[in-house]
Structures are given as C-alpha cells and as structure tokens.
Symmetry: D2
Subunit: 255 residues, 4 copies
Amino acid sequence: VVDLSADYRLRSAAEFEAWYGVAHGDPEGLAEAVYGVPELYRKQIAGAQLVANPGCYPAGALLAVVPLVRAGLGRPDGIVVDAKSGATGAGAQTRKPDPMYQYVEANENVQAYGVGRHRHTAEIEQELSLVAAASVRVAFTPHLVPMNRGLFTTAYVPMARDVSTAECLAVYRDAYEREPFVRVLDEGELPRTRSVIGSNYGDVAVVADRRTGRAVCLSVLDNLGKGGAAQGIQNLNIMHGWDERTGLEAPPVYP
Amino acid sequence: VVDLSADYRLRSAAEFEAWYGVAHGDPEGLAEAVYGVPELYRKQIAGAQLVANPGCYPAGALLAVVPLVRAGLGRPDGIVVDAKSGATGAGAQTRKPDPMYQYVEANENVQAYGVGRHRHTAEIEQELSLVAAASVRVAFTPHLVPMNRGLFTTAYVPMARDVSTAECLAVYRDAYEREPFVRVLDEGELPRTRSVIGSNYGDVAVVADRRTGRAVCLSVLDNLGKGGAAQGIQNLNIMHGWDERTGLEAPPVYP
Amino acid sequence: VVDLSADYRLRSAAEFEAWYGVAHGDPEGLAEAVYGVPELYRKQIAGAQLVANPGCYPAGALLAVVPLVRAGLGRPDGIVVDAKSGATGAGAQTRKPDPMYQYVEANENVQAYGVGRHRHTAEIEQELSLVAAASVRVAFTPHLVPMNRGLFTTAYVPMARDVSTAECLAVYRDAYEREPFVRVLDEGELPRTRSVIGSNYGDVAVVADRRTGRAVCLSVLDNLGKGGAAQGIQNLNIMHGWDERTGLEAPPVYP
Amino acid sequence: VVDLSADYRLRSAAEFEAWYGVAHGDPEGLAEAVYGVPELYRKQIAGAQLVANPGCYPAGALLAVVPLVRAGLGRPDGIVVDAKSGATGAGAQTRKPDPMYQYVEANENVQAYGVGRHRHTAEIEQELSLVAAASVRVAFTPHLVPMNRGLFTTAYVPMARDVSTAECLAVYRDAYEREPFVRVLDEGELPRTRSVIGSNYGDVAVVADRRTGRAVCLSVLDNLGKGGAAQGIQNLNIMHGWDERTGLEAPPVYP
C-alpha cells in the first residue's frame, strides 16, 4: 500500500493527535509504515508493505534542507521554511466549495494560511530531528499563490560555520548524485517551478548568505508530481523492485 | 522633490556604493534627504525638500516588522524577510526585454532572485538598525509570483520573550492607531494582497509562534500603491501640509 | 429602483418565459421599466421609477453594434456576437460551489458555455430589433477566460454596403460624441480589457473587413463596471438628475 | 522535411505574396509540398518529402469546420472563425521584446489583433475552398487570452439545411472515427483548452443553433501540440511509416 493520506506519516500517535486533533486509529500500524521519501528511505521502502507518501510541503522542505543538516553545515535550531504553493496543493479541497479556492479569490492574490499550525510542520520536524539527532523545531508558513501546479520552498538554515556556496553545493551534489529525480542547479542558478511541472523532478539550489550566517536552501517540485502522485508511483516502483523511473519519464511541460 | 529612485534612500554613501556598485554622485545631499515612510518619519517629511520614496520591499518589510522591534518584543538578530511580489514590482523592467518578465516565463511560475544580494536589503537593515539601535542584518529573499500587482511580506522575527499573538497585536494597533493607510487585522485573520490592490493601504498581521519562539509578521501592499507611486503622493501631501489622503481615497479594486 | 436582476430587462413576458423557463411574476410592471443603457435610453431613464440594469454581455454587444446598425451600415441579419468574459461575469456564482469557477478549473483554460441558449441573447435581440425596426436574430456565444474582470466582445455584422473603416468609425464617433463613458478608438487601435478595469468606461472599435463584407465591431468593459454595478450608478445619477459621472471618476487600474 | 515555417503552406505563390508581403523564394517547390494536416492529407503526407506544418489557427479552424462543410451541412459562404489563443501561439515572439507579450500587459487582459488581415486566414480559406470546391472567404479574428498554452476556436457556419446537433455530431464522429488524436465530444459537452494541454489531442464539438440557422463549431488544441510541434511529430511518423502515435502518447497535463 502507498497511502496518500496523512495517517501513517508521523511515527508517534501522540504527535499525530497533537496536530490532527483526533486519536490515531491504528497506533500499532505506525511502526510498520515507512515514510515515503525515496531519497531518505529507499532501502526501507523496497521492503515495505505500507508506505506513507509524504505531504507536498515536507517533500519540498526535506529535499531542500536535509543534505545541509546531515552534513553538519546547517544548524538544526532556528530553521525557517517559507513555502509557496499553487492551488493543486490543496488536493480535493480545490473542488470543495471553499471560497479560498474560488477563481476570483485565488487569482491575482497571495495569502498565507495556517501560520504556526499547519499539520505538515510535524512531518518536517520529525524527519529533520532524525537527521540531526536532535529535537528540531521549524517555523513553517505555507502560502497560496495564483497558479495551478508548483511548490516553491525557501528555507533559511543557520550555518554551523562560514562556508561558501560552492562548498554547500558540493554537499548537495554528493547527496543527490545517484537520484534520478533530483537535480542540483549550478551556482548562480535558482529554481523555478515551471521547470518541473508535469514531472517527478525536484530542483534544488543553495546559497550561502555569509553576511547573515544563513544558508538559503531552495527547492521546487510539482505538488501533483514529486509532491504527490508521481512520488507515490516512484515509491510503488521501489516496493516492487521495478525500474524506479517506470511511468515517470515524460519530461516536464514547459512553458 | 519626491525621488522615486534609490539615490537618496541610504544615509551612507559607502553603503550605497557597496550595494549599488557605483560611487554616489551627491554624498553631501544624503544628509538632507528624508526616508519617505510616513509611519516612521512624518514630521521630518513635513519639513523636507527632498524625500526618498522607499523601495517596495522595504516598504512592506518595515510596516510588518518595525512595531515589534521598536517595542522590544522582537529581537533584531536573526530576522528573515521572505517577500513575494507581482510583476509590477520590477517597475520599468517589466517593459524591458527581460525574459524573466515575458508572459510565458512568468505565468504559472514562482522564482526567487537576487538571493542574498538584493539591493533593498540595505534599506531594510538601515531602518531596522535605527529602530533597534543596533546593527541589524536581515536575510532577505524576493520572489516573483504570477500576478500584476501586490507584494506579500512574511517576516520571521525571534521573540525577545514569550508573548501571545494578542499582546503582539496590541503593539501594532498602538503603532498604527492614527495611520490613515495601515490596517491591523484582527487575530485569526491573515492578509491577502487582493485586499489592497489599487489603493495606498497596507494590511498588517502578526502571529506569535510560541513553539519556535518566532513572531511571524505579515504585510501586504500594492507595489504601485503603498509600495510606489501612491506612497509618493502621500509624501507629497505631507510635504505640502495637505490632507494626507488627498488623491488617495479610491478604495481597493476587489476582486 | 435600479434592478440588477434580469426581471425587467425584456419587454415581453412571453419572451421572458421562453428564455428563463418560468412565468413572469409581474407582467404589468414590464411596461413601466426602462432598459438601463444610458447611451440608448438616457431620456427615459431620467424620468423612470424602475430601471432594468442590463446584463454584462448585452451591455458589451450593444455598445459595439448599435451605431453601425442604426446608421444602416450594418445589416440586421446574420449577426454573430462572440464574447469573452472574466470570472466576475458570473456574479454570485463565482462564490457558489460551481466547479467551473474553481481556481484550478478556470485557470489556464478557455471554455464556451450556453452555446445557442444563453439568456442574454434575448436582450441583445430585443434591442437590436428595436434599432433595426426588424426582427433580429443573433448567434451569441459566451466564453469564460482566465481573468477576474473584463468582457471582450467581438461582433461580426454583415455590411449593407462597401464602406471603409474610417467611414464606420465616423459613425461611432458621432454616436458616442457626448458620452462620458464610451471611448471610440482611433483607426488601427484595438481594445484591450485592461484599459477599462475598475472603471465605468467602455472602449469601442470597428474594422471594415471588405474582403468578407463584414464589419468586425469590438468592445471592452469591466463586467463589474460598465457591465454591472458602475452602470447601475450611472443610471442612478441620471434618474436623480445628478452629474452622470458622480462616484464614477476613479480612473481604470492599469495594469 | 517537416517545415514549421509558413513558407510552403499556401499553394499559390501569388497568394503567399499577397498575405506575406514578399515574393515567394521557391515557387516551384510549392507543388511538391503537402499541407501537414493528417486528418486531411494522410496519404499524401505518407509519400511526401516536404510537409508544411500548418499554423496553429488553421489547425484549430479546420478541425472544427471541415467535416460540416465536406458533408454539405455547412455552407461555405459567411463563415466566421473567432479564435482565442494562449501566449505560446506567438512562438518565438513570446521571447522577443514585444510589449504585447510582457507579463503585465498580457496578464488579466484579452485583446484582438490582426483583425481582417491575419496571415493564417489564407491557409484557412485555401483548405476550405478545396473542401467546398468553391471560393471561400472567412472572417477570422485572433485574440490573445491570458494563459500559456491552448487555442480555442469558435466557428460560425451557416447551415445548408435545418438539421439537429445530433445529426451534425454524427458527421463529425464519422469523419474522425479512426483518428488517434481527435476526440468528438458528446452532445451537451463543450471543449475546454485544459483538456488537451501537453498533448497532441484536439477536441471538437458542434452545436446546431437552429434559431439562427448557424452551426457553432468548436475545437481546442495545444498550440505547441496539435497546433505546433506535436503535429509535426505526427507528420514525421506518417512520413516514415511509423506508428503515428510514436512519441505522442503522454496524456494531457490536467489541471
């Protein structure tokens, strides 16, 4: 099973209840589930019966931040994740009678929502805490921007030491070297959501802002691609031992 | 004179040269110029011969952050300003042959630019440093989002102590109580760029994210309104002793 | 009363029932109502107790076509009206749970609706029949295009004789010479919806396509402006004998 | 050769010169070229050395109109073709410094261009004339609407006799029965550009407007798909005797 819901994404039933406001219906099942980010858990996914496909925001944030924290270049305290999502990020809600997703309301508009309390925060913190081997708290703000597909993540990570953009990028290239769907941009290039629309690609960049001692970690993905259904297909392929790219080789649609 | 260029926004010729890459042509003139944010410098504007209309990003960031820092609730270190702008923010560039602002490139797309080196950073830091009476460094990232008008600012400010959203909002209400063009939203409401398009209004909100010890300070304005020409008219009105709202009373165009 | 509904727009209760599918509730009242297009009925509106504000599509079509037909340059048979409307044209429906007006459905999409049976057809035919003193049938197709405001009308009118664009334009300039809210474009210019957004203006152009013997009559208006509420205010001003422009002098918001 | 330019689309060098304003550089070559609409010229394309890929507007107009005219249900006189195109229809111009295609100008805007003189008119007339065995003149108006991809064609064709929508649709189903990339919609359904974006599909519908004696023929395609490069690939496949769908089987990207 590749579960697209949020039911098995968090390892702790208590954490689930804290963020979702209801008791978890299958606390024992949590131990069995694998969090479906292939770049983090490929081996575990390969043997899993139950994969919890990640939320779109965590998918984007983890792609952008994990390599830096894992390499010890990013400090796990004081991380800010600012995300900008097209309307498909809302999933089924986009077809519900929610005024926020009516055309005349969403068009020519930017708005934040769920400030300080969006449920995807828990996923981001869980995974970064495991990577950092420390309790990580993340200030996360999602925004709705006027486009259908695309999720842009801008993460600000305090740097553990004064390193260059090139040194940071080397870490990312190393981390994603063999990943078929993650592209690390060259220094001087910045991601744009258009580059991945209709595909399972995620593009990643990092800029060392030495003036402020912060790394700006950026990623883009399609919320219905690497942030949703396509990621689920990649997980399915891995679970079955198929070529990971099966069904996912159509290039992005640009523009 | 209300100067819409960046020539007289920075008080220091050295700082100007550092960010703009050219020597300042009139360093003596800098002392005379007043930075044109009425909410900060109304009295000085009233007597000024030369007002430097602020950049759109600083206009949005200062509206969102200044009250919190001035009240001592926000710490001046570790501030992150993440901004999302419509294409009119680029001013005359929107009519230049810059591929970034071609329709098919900008539409259905989000992109960051100038990460770690956008010139408006200097304005934001200058004014926050004066407010905090300390040297403030700000991690600032501008993004281009697919809409004509509107600038959304999401600022993350470390909190000096553990206060509630209500306490923060009280500070903002106090700060903007008599301001004709700044509207502080009620707790639970978040700004949306649509609410101010075509007007000189700026809407402001703040959320105390006590989990992470950060205040999320949000503002919206029209980059051609409070972030541009309309702000200039407000400055002009103040300089002449006219009713500050003259020529600025048309309501926003919604939707 | 300025009635924004469709109840009093058609003079014939039978015609109303044919297009709206219900019996008219006040057939006697129809004789009293004046059709609220100031450019056609200014005098009658001035003395009216009940003005039926026109539909947005008829408002656009009549501005574009009436002068040509009235002058005898346009033949009343075989007229085609092809209209492209932003989502606000749907009025209250834009806030109803209609999937057609959800953001992800309407964005990056063009669609026709009500082909051959849109109710506004009856208004257009009624008024053109009166102008032509003949029974006029119009092939009318409305389209939803991805923008908030704006209605573009492209009407194709068989020409009664072979005249130039300049001769056609002279007729329009004459017809709208004293109209405060109708602007006839110069030869070689074509209307764009952006030019009238947020205002009560309607822009009109005509091109004599002598190859095909058809005049292409084009108009733009804001469906919430000259195609809606602002038109209602103009009617109100006329009914009261006030300056017709009262409350309507804010310029369009561009871009 | 599959030629994406307009050089070999018109059979007559005189007609080319009349519309393009320059003498044709290879008048002898015109006889050899095949007009690249597979639904019309599949056999000729199969044996061709030079295929002239059609313009996007003719591609859409011919899909919508040809079956009706060929069946004798549509009269070849008095045809109106009203087209609405996304910005990619402009091809390389979308990257040129043309203000019309700047984001702030094209966004939230509809405009007509080339009224009565767009060069694609000649292609439409040439092919309809061949189908009707008569000299056909078409009133054609292209419009730019705010989206990247997608071309919506609304054609108004005088009906030769009073037939129902169902009878018209039967003709279209027959015409496109074996076409892999043309989908005839069911009665009551209308095309939407979103349904074909990123693909080589063209969707077609027809409504018999018996009140006015006109058939409204509607089609949608992606101007970079069936209206451009993908059509070219289909032609290439046919020229080589390959499966016509090779490289064209990725489904549309929706939404």
